[in-house]
Amino acid sequence: MATPILSVENLSKSFEGNQIFSNVSFSVDQGELSAIIGPNGAGKTTLFNLITGALVPDKGKIIFQGRNIVGMEPFDVVRLGMARAFQRTNIFPKMTVFENIVITIITRLRGNLRIFKRWNSSKKIERQAFEILESVGLAEKAHQLSGTLAHGNQKRLDIGVALALEPKLLLLDEPVAGMSPDERWETVELIKELWKKMNITMVFIEHDMDIVFGISQKVRVLCYKSLLAQGPPNEISANKQVIEAYLGEEV
């Protein structure tokens, strides 16, 4: 059995009296590619916000690589090796694609305080940046302002930025949202390829069931403030509770 890279234990969170989660527990194994699904408002993005330190849970523990990270700031959680890509594209729009990646690498190497050299003076960082841009298919657009990229490419850049952190765990929040059907499958293939090649544990949120059941090894269903079910895709799609609550009759 693989050891869990992340365990969530008895996590509870409420906003202004509205309970979002109560006692959610699960663990993510090292190296798995898994999905989180659930109806709108089930708190999928909130779960990512809790895990990455953007929100503080009311109760519960989040153990990442053997360490309770509850109460840590997002930038410290990132430094432990957890990266995330966002549902709404979240990049640095008035900087070039290249700059987006380079500042991320500089930050990973903790070089933010260097003032005597130009930021683009390191050939090594430049090479790494282009490797990442190649892997997400944006090398040719390196010197374009990232805000002027097409939506799909911005989402790829968002993933590229996350990869530049060389994470051990990567959280992808609806990585293909808003893309055309062709782009979707291209990006899904890209994600699967990256997962195989880079040995990263990946957890993604997705609405498209074809994608979810197509690539994930494990599916977790969030519903009714808690984890309704988890298991391999074939079990989940046959799970009566899940069908009633969420998937609908035809699945």
Partner: protein, 322 residues
Amino acid sequence: MDHMTSSSRTQWISGITVIVALFVLPVLLNEFGRTGEYWIWVSTEMIIMALFAMSLNLILGFGGMVSFGHAAFFGVGAYTVALLTKKADIPFYLALAAAPLTAAITAAIVGWFCVRLLGLYFAILTLAFGQLLYMIVFQWYTFTGGDDGILGIPRPEIFSPTNFYWFCLVLFLICFFVMRMIVSSSFGLSIKTIRENMERAKFIGINVRRYQLLNFIVAGAFAGLAGGMLAELNRFAQPDFLHWSESAEPILASLVGGMYSLAGPAIGSTVLIFLKIFLQQIHPSMVELWAIVLGAAILVVVLFAPSGLVGLYQNICKKFQS
């Protein structure tokens, strides 16, 4: 790549031309007797205020933080020079070297609180701290001279108006190149990254507050140096140096000159001072029109050249190239 090297070459050539012209300027002005001497004084003030405007722009343009209290650090620098030279008999050069330090320490204390807030709240808190320091200086008669300020700052003999102009110009150029180094370094890129998207910056691992505070301190230090220089130029320091209206000047200068370039605020500041003095020279009563002229200038810039004079110049260059 060829295009880039040729454009950076023209940049260097025009930069060196401007620097040479600035060095020669007082020699020419000296030919015009008293008027010339007056304009040397004005040019020295322009250099100092240009440095002040550029210092603010480190946080405003590059960092995306609007501060209404930047004059506090300018004033602390001015009072450092005034108090050390007048009351402690410390030589001017040492006092001037102390100005950025005291300003940086003040900025560290003020900034520590301010960077906890965002946007408008940050701006208001800087305003509050700025006015607090202003009131302290204004009322502490035994130490700061209260609303009288400190008069009669000694002037080293070597400083004829021309020599002091050159002294300020050299300091300005050193600061210019240091700031240029800072904004094009990894630190500078980190600051721009925070400006672009603070939330995402956290999620690539940047400790946003820490870098905002560091930037705030650096900007404060440069402002303190400029304040120290102005105290020596005027040979006095007064509470108005810390007043919020003094904080507005570098903001307006950055708006007019262009806050997304290094030289923009310096150019904006120089243009505004020139306009004001020019009005004064036509007829002293014209100064009353200054607020209207300033308002009109800001309006034109905001509506027609949102990236300031530098942005306008760049657009014109692009049009001519294509």
